[in-house]
């Protein structure tokens, strides 16, 4: 729709997946997994609603389509969003409460090394850009934290990240997502 989709395409294809850009409900047919990229969550949800993509996407994820959400994608998926637009709609499928731009404006955007679950203690480069802040979590597994707040969570077949692995050359999280998507075939 809008955002950093080209970077995810590059990362997923490097991780061995075939990709397709999803801009209408018909584009969802036959997919094993979907990425909700970074961008502006208000722009994305408005376009998805106007083009009749919001409900079919919600249905597909509820039925178990593997999902990787980064930054704005996490906001689109979240159960609760604070500091968003008054009538900001979303999918409400991920059991977290997030604050939009919770780490501050662009001058506060940052990079930090993260310890992510399942990476044998090796760090992952976290690139945070006007990132949402996870304020509380429900039935999710926290995969990584920064400064006492979750920055990576897993819930069933959803992986949601506050940061942008697609802006790095580190493919570990994209590979993990591809494994998740293939697991149900």
């Amino acid at each position: 729709m809008q955002g950093a989709f080209a970077e995810h395409v590059r990362a997923l294809e490097s991780a061995g997946a075939r990709t397709r850009l999803v801009r209408s409900a018909a584009d969802l047919d036959g997919l094993d997994g979907i990425v909700l990229p970074g961008g502006e969550s208000t722009t994305m949800t408005m376009l998805m609603e106007r083009m009749g993509l919001l409900e079919p996407l919600r249905g597909a994820i509820q039925q178990g389509m593997a999902t990787l959400a980064t930054c704005a994608g996490m906001i689109v998926l979240a159960r609760e969003v604070t500091d968003g637009m008054a009538d900001q709609k979303g999918l409400g499928l991920l059991d977290v409460a997030v604050r939009r731009n919770g780490y501050g404006r662009q001058v506060d955007s940052f990079e930090a090394q993260l310890k992510v679950e399942g990476m044998n203690g090796k760090t992952f480069p976290g690139v945070f850009i006007r990132s949402p802040l996870v304020e509380s979590t429900g039935a999710v597994t926290v995969m990584a934290e920064h400064d006492g707040h979750p920055v990576a969570v897993r819930q069933g077949r959803i992986i949601a990240l506050c940061f942008h692995p697609e802006l790095t050359n580190d493919l570990r999280l994209h590979r993990e997502f591809v494994r998740l998507a293939m697991a149900q075939r």
Binding site: Q2, R23, Q106, F128
Partner: protein, 305 residues
Amino acid sequence: MAERDATPNGNGAVKGSFKVKAGLAQMLKGGVIMDVVTADHARIAQEAGAAAVMALERVPADIRKEGGVARMSDPDLIRSIMAAVTIPVMAKCRIGHFVEAQILEALGVDYIDESEVLTPADEENHIDKHPFKVPFVCGCRDLGEATRRIAEGAAMIRTKGEAGTGNVVEAVRHARAVNAGIRKLHGMNHAELVHEAKTIGAPVEVLAECQRLGRLPVVNFAAGGIATPADAALMMQLGVDGVFVGSGIFKSEDPLKRAKAIVAATTYYDKPEVLAEVSAGLGEAMHGLEIPTIPKEELLAARGW
């Protein structure tokens, strides 16, 4: 260049690296950045799906009409727009006016446009953008100009077009010039690349990066004269990553409707049936100007060196 400006803080995080500065532009891709002069405009732009807004005192069409020295906007106006919306807010400073840029950074704007739309403050030098934590976008007319701005630290480029005209012809000229400049690099060996860099006034390292990637190393939007959904889609099909719309929205009859249509056209730029749908019934577009009717010394695109 990437880490020169980065400063670590207590928790091992690094702010203001080139990666996070260029990264915000990557998040804006496929989006529309709209000029707004009031908080109400900003809310309309956000409701229409703008990926960011540009806070200004006057849109370029009015700057052109009223003349005089055009400067950075009043901080109160910028603050009121920042308070009104959750999407990123950009603001313009004059070419070479690094103190205006320092003020905008202190205000906490998300992006600074070092813009030819305002009256230049330095007729030789642009701002050294590396020391700033806030990212910069700069205009260009061709590959040489784009690569010079990137060498100075711009984290995003936009083709200039001719702002405030509602006429897309210059935006097309500049986007095609950048594309042609990059295509020409294909197959050159290093000696030829050095010669080409000298010919177009480009820094060799940035030009080599363009050759390797087959595109600019930062995000490139189109600006200057986009007034209709079809104009936005035209620029997207010419290969830009997104569009700036200045006077085209709030100088039209029905800004919200036109803004929504341009947002949709930027996502569905290659779907003529969607473009036909969103282009219908928008009311009057801004009136527009023919470029040859503008006195040469009033052309904004010629500012910048």
